[in-house]
């Protein structure tokens, strides 16, 4: 289980969170890009989480998709 750092509540267990998709979606191209096409990187992935069973806030963070370790900021705002 991941240990996720909520910017408001601190480190909490993954089961308190829901994954909310990539942090950056291409909004300039075709609708298909926004809705369906994904970079699906092996390595650094900027993503959003929601502290669903906590403060309820969304936040952006970065994770290495090979080790699953969260990476240090900065991450662009969602």
């Amino acid at each position: 289980m991941l240990l996720i750092h909520c910017p408001w509540c601190g480190p909490r267990a993954e089961i308190e969170f829901s994954y909310a998709g990539p942090a950056q979606l291409r909004r300039d191209g075709a609708l298909e890009d926004l809705l369906y096409l994904r970079d699906n990187p092996k390595g650094r992935h900027e993503e959003r989480w929601r502290h669903a069973h906590g403060c309820g806030q969304f936040f952006a963070t970065a994770r290495d998709t090979v080790s699953d370790f969260f990476l240090p900021p900065p991450v662009a705002k969602p």
Binding site: E14, Y19, L35, Y36, R38, N40, K42, H45, T65, V66
Partner: protein, 417 residues
């Protein structure tokens, strides 16, 4: 190819089993091939076999980064069924079940296909309606599926708990008798051996690192860890790594890769005669011929390439298993593992040509593509050889996401195995 039969087994038994030969060669890559398959899982190997056996393409190679079947083919819970809701899916998966039925004979390799029946449990009124809708839709498509009452379900699978006081009581079940399981490794090895006998070069420890394209945009070569290989046709069957391979040719895919886990118990005597699945409480279980109970868990919530998942995902499934089969509560689990599955937004696969001339892709099988191994590969080989889709895989394009013609088995089933 050294043919297998009761006679060869007997002869080898008397010869101290010293006459068995390797089942396929270990060739050095040639500088060029008529076609190259990327990924030596069941899908890639079977594609090569059908290209060679049905389309006469024999100067071809399968390139595998690791070892044969070391991806999801060797990690899955081997459930085979074809009772999918939509016409397109039913046609695709039933095509595969029909090929499974003759596969051991065709390959001269025992893939241990066992049609012991796959039973999908219904726990809520919504489940009952949905299961019955599936049954009717399947029957219209010529796919067997029948409704069982809780008592009939228990008669079919004696360890099943049908007590009314369960948190999610069993209200009935949909049973596909033609469904079942097969031996995953044997599927990879059987296709590898048969393809090799037809002249296909199977090259392991050979990762593709780049795809080259010529001035017209068509593919012209692959770069690998064992040198460059020229080719005008590339078939990608790389499961969880498809996005990365396709990116080498500049194609962005509607895929996300997730860890999916499974686990097995200590081996016990035969206690479990069929396959049982439940989407609502998320559990699926069968017993291998070695005696281990084979249990499938869910995917993690986030995309990852880590080939392992969270323990809470397994716990969730084991809670459901213990409730459904109280007799298994004291069994010890022996091993658990994860595979990386490539999931499309509508949970249906892609078997298609791409916008890049000479580049073809078979992916998006997510959590349920083992059952499709012979069928999908058969259609993929057709698509690669004819440069046009077979009517059965024609709907399974990449463009369906642009055009909105989704085949939404995700909405239809929530989990698919």
């Amino acid at each position: 190819m050294q043919r297998f039969s009761a006679w060869t087994l007997l002869r080898e038994a008397f010869g101290g089993h010293r006459g068995w030969r390797p089942q396929w060669r270990a060739p050095e890559p040639k500088p060029a091939y008529d076609a190259v398959i990327i990924g030596g899982g069941g899908h890639g190997l079977a594609t090569a076999y059908y290209l060679a056996s049905e389309h006469g393409l024999r100067n071809i190679a399968v390139l595998e980064r690791g070892w044969l079947g070391g991806g999801n083919t060797g990690r899955n819970t081997t459930i085979i069924r074809s009772n999918y809701l939509f016409d397109e899916s039913a046609a695709l998966y039933d095509h595969s079940v029909k090929l499974w039925e003759g596969l051991s004979q065709a390959l001269n390799y025992n893939v241990m296909f066992s049609q012991r029946g796959v039973m999908l449990l219904a726990h809520t009124l919504h489940d009952v309606h949905s299961a019955k809708r599936h049954i009717h839709a399947n029957r219209l498509n010529g796919v067997d599926n029948e409704w069982l009452t809780p008592a009939q379900a228990k008669a079919f699978c004696p360890p099943l708990n049908i007590a009314a006081n369960m948190r999610y009581p069993v209200l009935g079940a949909a049973l596909q008798r033609r469904g079942g399981v097969a031996r995953h490794d044997a599927v990879a090895w059987g296709f590898a051996r048969a393809a090799d006998a037809l002249g296909v070069d199977i090259i392991q420890n050979c990762a593709v690192t780049a795809i080259r394209r010529d001035a017209s945009g068509a593919v012209s070569a692959v770069e690998t860890t064992r040198g460059d290989i020229r080719t005008r046709k590339i078939g990608v069957a790389a499961a969880g790594h498809t996005s990365l391979v396709m990116a080498m040719a500049g194609v962005r895919m509607p895929l996300e890769s997730y860890p999916l886990q499974a686990l097995v118990s200590e081996p016990v005597k035969p206690v479990f005669p069929c396959v049982v699945m439940s989407n609502t409480v998320h559990a699926y279980i069968s017993q291998s011929d070695k005696g281990e109970l084979v249990i499938g868990a869910g995917t993690d919530a986030y995309p990852s390439y880590s080939q392992r998942g969270g323990l809470q995902v397994n716990m969730h499934t084991l809670d459901a298993i213990c409730e459904l089969f109280p007799a298994f509560r004291r069994l010890r689990m022996l091993r658990n593992w994860g595979g990386i599955v490539d999931v499309t937004p509508d949970r249906s696969p892609i078997i298609a040509r791409t916008a890049v001339p000479g580049l073809y892709v078979n992916c998006g099988w997510g959590t349920g593509g083992f059952k499709a191994t012979p069928g999908a590969a058969h259609l993929f080989a057709w698509t690669m050889a004819q440069d046009a889709p077979h009517p059965i895989n024609a709907p399974f394009t990449i463009e369906r996401f642009r055009d909105g013609r989704l085949i939404d088995e995700n909405a239809a089933a929530a989990v698919v195995h």
